[in-house]
Amino acid sequence: MNISMTRIQAILMKDYKEFSRNYAVSIMVLMPLALAFLYNKSGANTINTYFLAINMAFTLVTAYVQCCLIAEEKEKNTLRSLMLSPASLGDILIGKSLFVFILTMVIVALTIFIVGYSPANLFILAIALILSTVFYIAIGTLCGLFAKTVMEGSLIILPVIFIFGFGSFALALSSAFPILKIAEWLPSSQLAQLAEALEGTYTTMDVIIPIATIIAWSIVTWIVVGYIYKKRMVD
């Protein structure tokens, strides 16, 4: 694939400028921070509550913002203009994801700091957080590609926020409704499980399984994104 750093940087800068002037979307970055502040003040200090705030950051910032950025490009026909420029599929997808990636890293770091979580193994957790970011960017991109307008995008993303943001609630109800055990394989649940394992004595499999699950979700979602993007290139 033909990738150009100049083009990626151009799209990144454009997204930054657009986002900083789009208050309707940029205000969303404050939501997980406010939630983290409330958790901190309520004295909640379990891994599950920390990760409720962190997963909220992923859904409300990463997936939601990415979805809105893509949906707006479609609504204003700017995505088609980008597609008609020499920017390749890789340039556009990486360029459009890079801004949200950086934004997510900052917001997740701030969320972790505000909730007062100090991970036992920061290195492994950081890898899992980066992989999760890649997945949530993919799901946000996918929802954005399906939406025709920003309004439609913010509706399409709601089930994603609900399923991935509150997956741990479903797990809590799995004793009454065994089917909900499936929520254990959500990337959000796997991330929380990994963090839980890292706090005690853990085996290699305790690390590999959650990370492999998140990677699998990412790969599948990005493949679908690539397919849908190519379909959207033509009417």
């Binding site: 083009r7 151009a10 800068m13 454009k14 657009e18 204003k76 008609l84 020499p86 033509v234």
Partner: protein, 282 residues
């Protein structure tokens, strides 16, 4: 001459409804070609097929001797520029920021932005946000973006539809200059005067079919008569034909200083279109 666009027996259907039915034409390097027709005649669909935004149903479509589907490739996209009615500009960014983005995507020198802004007469307004611009100004920004990389082939879909006469003239001059530099121009319009002023050749598209094709001068000759109207000072209008009898009449009027105005009865492209298709261009 090299053929830049070669379209043979092109067909396109949307939900079993034919938008283009057996359309064939070629465009040579350096030509300004006008694709004329009313709304819904298939002009935009043709541009979309040529620029690989829509797939054809049948037929052969070659650009620069390669299938149009190859225009999806990054390197081939540098060879053409496109202006459509849907601007695709970032409304929160300024004119200059929009053009800087595209100059980076095309990997052009910084001077390209100023050149493009000068071309559309917008350098003084470059700091204005797109959301503050009139439709005409947006059209000029889109045009600046389309020509910034000096493409070999330029697609213009109704390029002056929202412009005032002064800016229309400015754009015409710029397009002629671009054409002199070697850019081939494919122009769709329903403005017949625009086609007459700019185009080397035109094609009339009606209900998905090309009804006539040729140089405006030749079409006028083919579809017009050779009569002349003479307006006399007493207010009478006389239509005369080539021939000895009418020549004598004209000589007599001129000798006796009776002639007020003389003009040929050359049809406009709009009249020819109506004559061929039986419908108007709007």
């Amino acid at each position: 001459m090299n053929t830049v666009i070669d379209v043979q027996h092109l067909k396109k259907t949307f939900n079993k409804e034919a938008a283009l039915k057996d359309v064939s034409f070629t465009i040579q390097k350096g030509e300004i070609f006008g694709f004329l027709g009313p709304s819904g005649s298939g002009k935009t669909t043709t541009i979309k097929i040529l620029t690989a935004q829509t797939e054809k149903t049948a037929g052969d479509v070659l650009l620069f001797g390669r299938p149009a589907s190859e225009m999806k490739q990054s390197n081939n996209r540098k060879r053409f520029g496109i202006l459509t009615d849907n601007s695709g500009l970032y409304t929160r960014l300024s004119i200059e920021e929009n053009l800087i983005l595209y100059s980076n995507l095309y990997q052009l020198p910084k001077s390209a932005v100023k050149e493009a802004l000068d071309f559309v007469n917008l350098y003084g307004d470059r700091k204005k946000k797109i959301s503050q611009l009139s439709k005409g100004m947006m059209q000029r920004v889109t045009l600046a973006r389309a020509i910034m990389h000096k493409p070999e082939l330029l697609f213009l879909d109704e390029p002056t539809s929202a412009l005032d006469p002064v800016n229309t003239q400015h754009i015409y001059n710029g397009l002629r200059k671009l054409n002199e530099m070697g850019t081939t121009i494919f122009l769709t319009t329903h403005d017949m005067s625009e086609a007459e002023v700019l185009c080397d050749r035109v094609a009339f598209l009606h209900k998905g079919k090309i009804r006539a094709i040729g140089a405006p001068k030749d079409l006028k000759k083919e579809f017009g008569d050779e009569s002349i109207t003479v307006e006399l000072k007493n207010g009478a209008c006389e239509v005369i034909q080539n021939g000895e009898q009418d020549a004598e009449k004209l000589y007599h009027w001129m000798q006796s200083n009776e002639v007020s105005r003389i003009y040929t009865n050359e049809p406009t492209l709009g009249t020819i279109f109506m004559q061929i298709t039986g419908s108007d261009l709007v």
